[in-house]
């Protein structure tokens, strides 16, 4: 068994990922959006006595090292010296795709060209003179259909053939014209003499070429001043001759070489006409229809994620409730074992709290995979770009923001569709301001407690009622704050140009069920393994803090069940912290009871309601909720009620959100920053609202 390494290179949208899946059967997503593959992905395949390790390089248009992806791909080929590099080429778009191939040829990589999506090219009426083209490009050509597993054996054969019989190759095939060739011949020997170590690795011609192109990565590696001077003089000389940057002239020559090769070997039998993609685009990115179509699709995504997700979530919740009761029954009735409490309330409750998000995440990523694989995602960015740009965000930021109204956890995960780090981090930071479904339960408790549902204006169905207005106001405050915060973040922490907008609109394609399934599996597993463990750990810690220390048994003797629970919570760490922070939250109109409930709400926002019930010693259920509302009315003013909602809206995201931010930003620093900054913001805004409100009240009274 011979072990070999094969790198897969190719343009975004060339179907590279589907070839990777075809070869390795790896659990990996097939994207249809430029730049979706940023990480390095590997997979194994056994074939004809070879153990082949495939490495999926990031999809790039070139290897000029202007982006991280390009540098990653280039360095892998140079540093790791893979036995074979397979360049996946969209055969219905040969010329643009071969640009990357010319750069691989320049690097003298052992190359196999996979002409992918050959079925589409055939339908388009393209005929290739394979033998001739293969000779001109000095690399074997194999036809593949990645999403239908076509050409797998042929591709593997070609790879093995290269490994077994390395041909003698000469890297001079792209001729850049006399002037440039002259400079290359001048600089080459100087590099070879002065930079032995680099020359050994890269070869003199390629180094000279990169130096004339003023490649920043290579230029930084060169130590010899003589080499740098020669390169500078060469570039200056060429700039004078061509009145353009040498690298652009070189790019032009590469295209010249490509079109030369294609002119003789590719015949188009069908006149190019308006494709189906063009017809769909005429409607989908239409100036008038584009936005409504986008909004309808987004509405469907939202419904799919949360409305359909509600059913499996219900099953999961009932299952864990059943599991809790069943396990609790293992102990003799009436016994209050600490281990029982830990297992039932702490661990089972915690695991349930993690798994309950899974349906949302799976459904959301199925929807996202559908949007990406079909090619619509690029159009969505196009449609929303103008509006989102004003806030300093990318058009695609809209999707996670919208999902945020359902739940921040899948929404933060959905920011993966944004490739620019600044855009992505800004979106993550402001996402918790989108009022999630869990916070709705808080508003539903508070609003009816303090605001009678009067008709303010209008009649019939066109009325504005107090309660609806309050709810609308809270959501609106969240959105306005998110916009302001995003703007501020883009001007301060995440300052910098929004990447100038150049993006390919890939042709529409029918997504395959397999690729969507792989994508869902990938994301769901990642959530459980990475974020889930952190959520579980923090929830158990919070549960411990709410349960311990327990009050001495004799102090509970004369109390009823509700009062006993109240006393126990007050005695616990959370209760004590709530009491201790009362002076700090008093200026917001809050007492220790609200403080305690707020700490509990960190586990999950809806816990605020049950915690408030406990500290006010009222029972569970609908009757309990009514009693609680009465209690709240007696204890607090309507202003305090509003301030509770305001604080819950803005402050401290729940532990699941914190864990997700930590996972997606890959640093606790950002998670803590988000937590602290939002809580500080909530404090300041609530303070201002409460103090002004109080002032107004005394003034009018």
């Amino acid at each position: 068994m011979k072990k070999i390494v094969v790198a897969l290179a190719g343009n975004p949208n060339s179907g590279k990922t589907s070839i990777f899946n075809m070869l390795t059967g790896a659990r990996q997503h097939v994207g249809n959006y430029p730049g979706v593959t940023v990480e390095k992905k590997e997979g194994l395949c056994r074939y004809a006595d070879h153990e082949i390790k495939f490495v999926d390089l990031p999809g790039t248009y070139s290897l000029n090292a202007y982006s991280v992806e390009e540098l990653v791909a280039r360095n892998f080929i140079i540093d790791e010296q893979p036995d074979v590099v397979v360049d996946i080429i969209d055969s219905s778009n040969i010329e643009r795709n071969l640009y990357l191939a010319t750069q691989l040829i320049e690097m003298n990589a052992p190359l196999v060209l996979a002409f992918n999506m050959s079925d589409i090219a055939e339908r388009k009426g393209l005929r290739f003179d394979t033998e001739q083209l293969s000779r001109l490009l000095e690399a074997p050509i194999v036809y593949t259909i990645g999403n239908k597993a076509g050409g797998k054996a042929e591709l593997l054969d070609a790879i093995c053939k290269i490994v077994e019989r390395p041909t003698n190759r000469h890297p001079h095939i792209v001729h850049y014209g006399d002037e440039i060739e002259e400079e290359l011949e001048k600089i080459g020997p100087i590099v070879a003499e002065k930079e032995r170590r680099l020359t050994e690795k890269y070869g003199p011609r390629w180094l000279a070429l990169k130096l004339i192109e003023q490649d920043t990565d290579i230029t930084a590696k060169v130590r010899s001043q003589d080499v740098l001077n020669a390169a500078k003089a060469g570039a200056e000389h060429l700039r004078k001759i061509f009145a353009d940057e040498p690298e652009i002239v070189i790019a032009d020559r590469r295209y010249g070489f490509i079109s030369g090769a294609c002119r003789e070997t590719i015949k188009s039998t069908v006149e190019s006409r308006h494709s189906t993609s063009d017809r769909i685009d005429a409607i989908v990115i239409n100036r008038i229809l584009g936005l409504p179509i986008f909004l309808i699709l987004m509405y469907i995504v939202f419904l799919l994620t949360f409305k359909i997700g509600r059913y499996p979530m219900g099953w999961i919740e009932s299952f864990f409730r059943w599991a809790g009761v069943t396990i609790a029954d293992l102990w003799p009735a009436g016994s209050e074992s600490a281990i029982k409490s830990l297992i039932v309330d702490g661990i089972i409750g915690g695991v349930g709290g993690v798994i309950v998000f899974l349906p949302n995440i799976l459904l959301l990523f199925a929807a996202i995979a559908l949007l990406e694989d079909s090619g619509y995602m690029a159009r969505a960015a196009f449609v929303m770009d103008r509006i989102m740009h004003k806030i300093g965000l990318h058009g695609k930021s809209f999707i996670p923001m919208l999902i945020g109204f359902g739940c921040s956890v899948p929404a933060i995960m959905a920011t993966r569709i944004l490739e620019n780090k600044r855009n992505r981090f800004t979106t993550i930071m402001v996402l918790p301001l989108m009022s999630c479904g869990a916070r709705l339960t808080i508003y539903m408790l508070i609003i009816p407690a303090f605001f009678a549902d009067k008709v303010l204006v209008g009649a019939g169905i066109f009325t504005i009622r107090t309660q609806a207005l309050m709810l609308w106001l809270i959501y609106l405050i969240g959105i306005v704050l998110a916009v302001v915060c995003a703007k501020v973040l883009r001007l301060t922490l995440f300052r910098g140009e929004t990447t100038p907008f150049v993006m390919e609109l890939p042709p529409y394609r029918m997504p395959t069920g397999k690729s969507i399934a792989i994508h869902m599996w990938h994301r769901g597993w990642m959530y459980l393994r990475k974020a889930g463990t952190v959520i579980l750990a923090i929830s158990i810690v919070l549960w411990l803090a709410m349960t311990y220390p327990k009050p001495p048994a004799e102090s509970l003797r004369d109390l009823d069940a509700g009062q006993a629970r109240q006393a126990a919570l007050k005695y616990s760490i959370v209760g004590r912290v709530g009491l201790a922070m009362e002076p700090a939250i008093e200026p917001l109109g809050f007492d220790w009871k609200i403080g305690t409930a707020l700490i509990g709400a960190m586990a999950a926002k809806e816990v605020f309601v049950s915690q408030l019930g406990i500290v006010h010693a009222v029972g569970d259920g609908e009757g309990g909720t009514q009693n609680l509302r009465k209690q709240l009315q007696n204890s607090y003013s309507a202003l305090t009620g509003f301030c509770i909602m305001l604080f819950c809206l803005i402050s401290a995201p729940c532990v699941a959100t914190v864990a997700m931010t930590r996972h997606e930003t890959n640093s606790w620093r950002w998670a803590i920053f988000q937590f602290a900054a939002l809580t500080a913001l909530a404090y300041i805004i609530t303070l201002i609202v409460f103090q002004i409100g109080e002032l107004a009240r005394t003034f009018f009274a």
Partner: protein, 77 residues
């Protein structure tokens, strides 16, 4: 209309096919555009040019969306 008249891409209407003369976008971006096929002497067709939104062109059989600012920097005839 004079077809040889050099103007920025942003002034070209939908449906028109023009030839790239020069891209003045700064080094990194020039190179990125070149990799996507936007180099001198390439024929491109404008698919959509609305006054407010981004700009869509067809270049070498692929559809590329450009920001409005970018379309100002690409000179065509």
């Amino acid at each position: 209309m004079d077809q040889e008249y050099i103007r920025p891409l942003s002034m070209v209407g939908a449906g028109e096919t023009v030839k790239v003369v020069k891209v003045n976008a700064g080094r990194g971006l020039n190179s990125r555009l070149a990799a996507m096929g936007l180099v001198a002497n390439t024929e491109i067709t404008v698919v959509s040019n609305s006054h407010t939104g981004p700009f869509v062109v067809t270049v070498k059989q692929s559809k590329v969306m450009l920001g409005k600012g970018m379309a100002h920097k690409i000179m065509v005839k």
